[in-house]
Amino acid sequence: MHARLSRPGILFAAIALLASACGGSAASPSASSAPSSEASASVAPPSTGPATVPPGGPIQIRWFCCLGGGDDPSQQKVFKQVIADFNASHPNIKVVFDYTAYSGARDAFATRVASGNPPDIVGPLGVGGANAFEGQWLDLSQHIQTNNIDLSGFDQGVINLYKAGGQGQLGIPFAIYPSELYYQPDMFDAASLEPPPANYGDQYKMPDGSMVDWNYDTVRQIAMQLTVDKAGKNATDSAFNPKQIVQYGFEPQRDDLRTMGAAYFAAGKFLADDGKTAQIPDAWAAAWKWVYKGMWTDHFILTGPAYNSQTFNGGGYAFNSGHVAMQENFLWNVCCVTDAGGNWNLAALPSYNGKVTAPLNADTFRITKGTKHPDEAFTVLQYLVLGAAHTKLLNSISGFPALKAEQADYFTQLQQQKDDKGKLIYPPDVNWNVVTQAIPFADIDPNSENAMPKYNKSLDILAKYLTRWTSNPGLNMDNELNNLKQELQTTWNAAS
């Protein structure tokens, strides 16, 4: 009897479990409570909320961290202070900090969404992190309009970055990280080379005095001269020993195959406009061949084993080891570039086929589509990205303000920063100007972190090829590119 009863019970429980696991599937913004009483203007701090506590207590808004960063204890301290300040001034809303360490944040966030209990606000969050959860973000257009928020203080391209996929305005610009060329002036001096151009559009003076375009062919030529072996021979010398390199000429941004040369050559995306076909943009193919040749034939780029060695790794960014003359990277690398020595500088990125592309990373806060309190969540969002908290938050994540009016001050502050011994952290004459110059060259649409089907799985495939190319000489890159495209397509085509 017991056995007979238990079977339907198990079935029922299984269905219940299944149903609860799928609970988030139809997540959509619920009918909100009363419209926000707050009407904040452009970048002015939002006004404080109504003084009265609604019946049933303040509405709880959960801020989920750290899907894209914010793990550091010093950042957590700032986040909690920001929440305390908000809660003190908004008796109708209570912000609750929902923390999961970055390493487990994707799993935790996915589980919350699937269980029908998504957090209300997520951030700080990059474009790629958000694209891993495409379809889960609230379109803010209506709220921006209702609250009369003026976005004219932002670069239009940066605003457009959050319009990807025709899903509306999914974010308000907050922190941006343009790309630059980091370089070591002393290494250029030692090789009797002119430093890279300080401004976009400038040409480069070669050792023979000729003026040439600052492009990837020029970079290759001078990077080879900056690549030096133990005996002091450079990579253009026939006696050069590639097994005993002590200084490399160039390091691409290698966090992701999409930025390892590719997006610096030209803006592109894997997903074709039909929304289902895998493609490899010609410029990306050219970039990967250039990087591959740079590693295994011309030797001015670190191979995988060299990159993983203690001498050159530099905590994951080879330039920071102090043994690399040039690197392409985002502005967020200034956090750690001080390890590269006391005399680095910034220059213009080279062009490809006459056009400069400066990949852009960006962080902001987003509201989930499944929030039950979109109006209150938007009030909190305003406070975080435009209101009283935004400067504190930007400083905590070393974020470069997306708001144009605040950008100059950012560099002034950076330039004044001192270490524990009172010594200035950054060299006195860093060419910060080139950072803002790069914004018009940003890869907005498509952005290098554009959405693609099976996003996380596709990233793993890219990581696999990155390791393969940086670990194995003698590969036929045309075959490799075909295989990559085919593997992406097969993955995207799979039913599951």
Partner: protein
């Protein structure tokens, strides 16, 4: 109405026996509840998932997809790659997992070994160190620049020692080396098995003129074969479920170049990183079936090589 003979033994049970049975049920009920809630139910649920399109980032309506998930396995290169990774590693690690503890147990069981107790403790000690901590310590030890293993190799003249954890060629030997850390449990099991072999057999073998090797071949091995069988089964299950080490070492990235993307890790990634519950569940059931088939095969082969003294 006829009397039901089947009810007679039940009726014959004493009040005490029935009370004991009730209490027994009460005492094991936490396990039963736990088993239903945390094992059976999730298993049934995951089986149901395999026929749906459920995922953690559900943007499509939930629907029944029949055998689509099972069909997808055949075209999913990553599944086959991860199975290949698991089998390659198994080929290398299984002999070590089964034979090395046996060799160590034989040494520790030797009459000629002094301080045997101390050595037993030393070999077992790593087994009680929290596994994650052990993996992290090994990560440092295997570091190509600062790890003492490569430092030692450099000292003895190896100019270009292996990059154990970053080089696709050396990563499996590196993981096997790391696995040596946990042989203490196997050593104890083998030691117990060796202790269980009556010394009379060795005496009889010696009288018959058997040397050390002959005694090992004709006495120790047959009588220890049930323990070897037991260790082999556990090692097979362990290697097919290999997960924690690559997860901790490389944060589950499968680096270098997918060589540590074991099948179990790939299942985990499907569930959580790719948020594809239905496909992850399908792979989990396939792994379950694979494990079952392999262990059944080993069980079937046991008739040929495992000796049970009590059998005819």
């Amino acid at each position: 109405m006829t009397t039901l003979p089947l009810s007679r033994p039940r009726a014959g049970r004493s009040l005490l026996a029935r009370r004991e049975a009730r209490w027994a049920l009460v005492f094991i009920s936490p396990w039963i509840v736990g088993f239903f809630a945390f094992t059976l139910l999730p298993m049934v649920a995951t089986l149901a998932f395999t026929f749906t399109n459920v995922n953690l980032n559900q943007t499509e309506p939930l629907r029944f997809v029949g055998l689509d998930n099972y069909k997808a396995v055949f075209s999913d290169k990553s599944t086959w790659d991860s199975l290949g990774v698991t089998l390659k590693f198994a080929a290398l690690s299984l002999p070590v997992a089964v034979l090395l503890p046996l060799a160590v147990a034989l040494l520790l069981g030797s009459r000629h070994l002094r301080f045997a107790g101390m050595f037993r403790v030393l070999f077992f000690l790593p087994y009680v160190v929290p596994f994650v901590a052990g993996v992290l310590i090994w990560e440092s030890m295997l570091n190509v620049d600062s790890g003492w293993i490569d430092q030692l190799l450099k000292l003895i003249g190896v100019s270009d020692p292996p990059n154990w954890l970053q080089d696709p060629t050396w990563v499996y030997p590196g993981l096997v080396l790391l696995g040596v850390w946990g042989i203490g449990g196997g050593v104890i099991v083998y030691l117990a098995g060796l202790r269980g072999i009556p010394s009379e057999y060795y005496d009889a073998a010696r009288i018959d003129g058997a040397g050390v090797w002959a005694s090992f071949r004709h006495v120790t091995l047959p009588l220890l074969s049930p323990v070897i069988f037991y260790t082999l089964i556990l090692a097979i299950v362990d290697v097919l479920q290999y997960f924690l080490v690559p997860l901790v070492l490389n944060q589950g990235t499968g680096e270098p170049g997918g060589t540590t993307l074991f099948l179990n890790l790939y299942i985990y990634k499907n569930f959580f990183a790719y948020q594809n519950m239905s496909y992850g569940a399908t792979l989990a059931w396939i792994l379950f079936a694979l494990t079952l088939v392999v262990t059944l095969f080993v069980f079937a082969s046991a008739r040929r090589w495992v000796y049970y003294a009590g059998e005819r």
